[in-house]
Amino acid sequence: MTHLPRGREASAGMSLEAKARICRYVIIAAIIAAWEIVPRLGLVPRLFLPSLSSTLTVLVAQSGDFAVQMLVTLQEVGMALVFACGFGILFGLWVGSTLTVRKALLPVVSALFAVPLVVLYPLFTAWFGIGSASKVVFASVYGLLPTVLGTAAGAQTIDRQLTQAARSMGATRLQQILWVTLPASVPTVLASFRLGGALVIVGVVVAEMMMSSAGIGFLLSKYRTQLNSPGVFAAIILILALAIGFDLAVQAIERRWTGSRNKAAGRPADAP
């Protein structure tokens, strides 16, 4: 099979990555500028959008407080990630690559996800307590199901020939999942990991917002009730930082992978 060249844009002068980076920075700069200017001009009530500078002022002034709460959130996110993504991906691969298991378990898993969990969270805490545990459990469940479903769907799209080849070489079920199904569905797995991770972050923060006495979500909800919008946005900045940190980690994994195979199984990057 002859592979096609990367996008036509790639050939022109500056590398595409560099151009994209510049473009992204321009967009981000525009957002930042708007964030500062729009509230100053009074186009949006301060309550909805405090200027960036006032937000940063709060962030710096209260950095100690934020740091303490951030640490709590980080721990909860970390624990929930291990469960939601680690377990979720392996389980998803297993479910997705085994026909009978898929038929038996997937409906149950997706039915579980159909229950609006957020609504039940207050009850949830009655069982799991009001400490970190309930947040971790909630966020895990919140992130787990999409991860499982996504990974399972990805595992389903892989070329059956490959698993058959591995089988002929005597690969055990686990070996097949680890060394064939997993790498063959890397794009979907990484995407599910991203998704699961983002959901875990959201889950932890939302749980903290709903009930807790610590964490970024707690601060956020407190500032929200107090109508302290610079505080609210400072907390959002921190949540974003969390997301960016997570994204960098995923990117590192991605690079390691694509570096070694250069999107081999995948696809050309040029537009249709």
Binding site: R46, K222, T225, L227, N228
Partner: protein
């Protein structure tokens, strides 16, 4: 007819029922007012709606108004409904060893959310009794489940849920804030400054309607109590209690004084800010004269 959009800070808070009855009895219509009632998750959401231009009038109190003004939302109290927190209570499990408010020290006390009314009450209790305890935000929906499951040692709880909990035997009243606190402007109506300026007459008529609603409630217990039970989803007995404790004590004309406003600020200020009480209310709409 003039339209007025009324933001209600949670359905459970009694002003919501006042507005609802006024609507049901056609009193707004009688005053040529087209009222749109919207229930918000809490006072700050209702205030946000005012800021967003999605509401003109809201159920509120001076402390919320104060915070709103600080955040750039131009609202003022325009009428008063009550001077006490009727039915706002601290409750403990029936078999709890906590016998007095002072025993709460070092315990876990559930509040709805940080910065909310229950949070302010918790701070006030701490200050008054000179004790320290952990106030844990569990959301309105988390109070009772976590009290029952033992995750919390006590909760600060609002009516009529407080009556219901006591009646069900799920909790024991430790204290009622209407006994604990001196009279202050606890509940009333706050209007968007711009609306109040531009639609003075409509606002006046709306307030008249609302206080005619209060009069109707006060004058027709037999008709109102079942409605209250249905509205709150509680038993007739609880509705009766709430009716007696709360609705029996509502202001007839909405009139307020600077002292009452100031007292609210003193109670809830949390030692944080120096607000000028006179900027938080507009007494030009009160007393509301109603036809009897």
């Amino acid at each position: 007819a003039d339209t007025i959009r009324i933001g209600l800070s949670t359905k459970a808070w009694f002003p919501s029922f006042v507005a609802e009855i006024t609507q049901q009895q056609g009193i707004f219509k009688k005053h040529d007012i087209n009222a749109e009632l919207t229930v918000y998750q809490s006072g700050s959401e209702a205030l946000t709606a005012i800021a967003a231009g999605a509401a003109d009038l809201m159920s509120s109190n001076p402390s919320i108004v104060g915070e709103g003004r600080e955040a750039g939302v131009n609202v003022k109290m325009v009428a008063m409904l009550a001077t006490r927190n009727f039915g706002w209570q601290i409750m403990v499990p029936p078999k709890s060893g906590i016998k007095a408010v002072a025993d709460l020290a070092k315990h876990k006390v559930g509040i709805t959310s940080a910065g909310s009314n229950t949070d302010l009450l918790a701070s006030w209790v701490k200050k008054k009794y000179g004790i320290d305890f952990v106030a844990i935000p569990v959301g309105g929906a988390g109070l009772v489940p976590n009290l029952i499951s033992g995750n919390l040692d006590a909760v600060i709880i609002y009516p009529p849920l407080s009556y219901q909990v006591a009646l069900d035997g799920n909790g024991r009243v430790l204290t009622d804030f209407s006994d604990e606190m001196p009279p202050h402007l606890e509940a009333g109506w706050a209007a968007d400054d711009e609306y109040a300026a531009k639609h003075k007459d409509a606002l006046k008529r709306a307030l008249t309607a609302l206080f005619e609603g209060v009069a109707y409630i006060k004058g027709n217990p037999d008709a109102v109590i079942p409605q209250l039970a249905k509205y709150d989803g509680v038993s007739a007995e609880v509705a009766k209690q709430e009716y007696a404790n709360t609705f029996g004590h509502l202001s007839d004309d909405g009139a307020m004084t600077k002292e009452l406003v100031q007292e609210t600020l003193n109670l809830y200020a949390n030692g944080k800010k120096e607000l000028d009480a006179s900027t938080l209310f507009d007494s030009s709409f009160t007393p509301v004269a109603i036809a009897r």
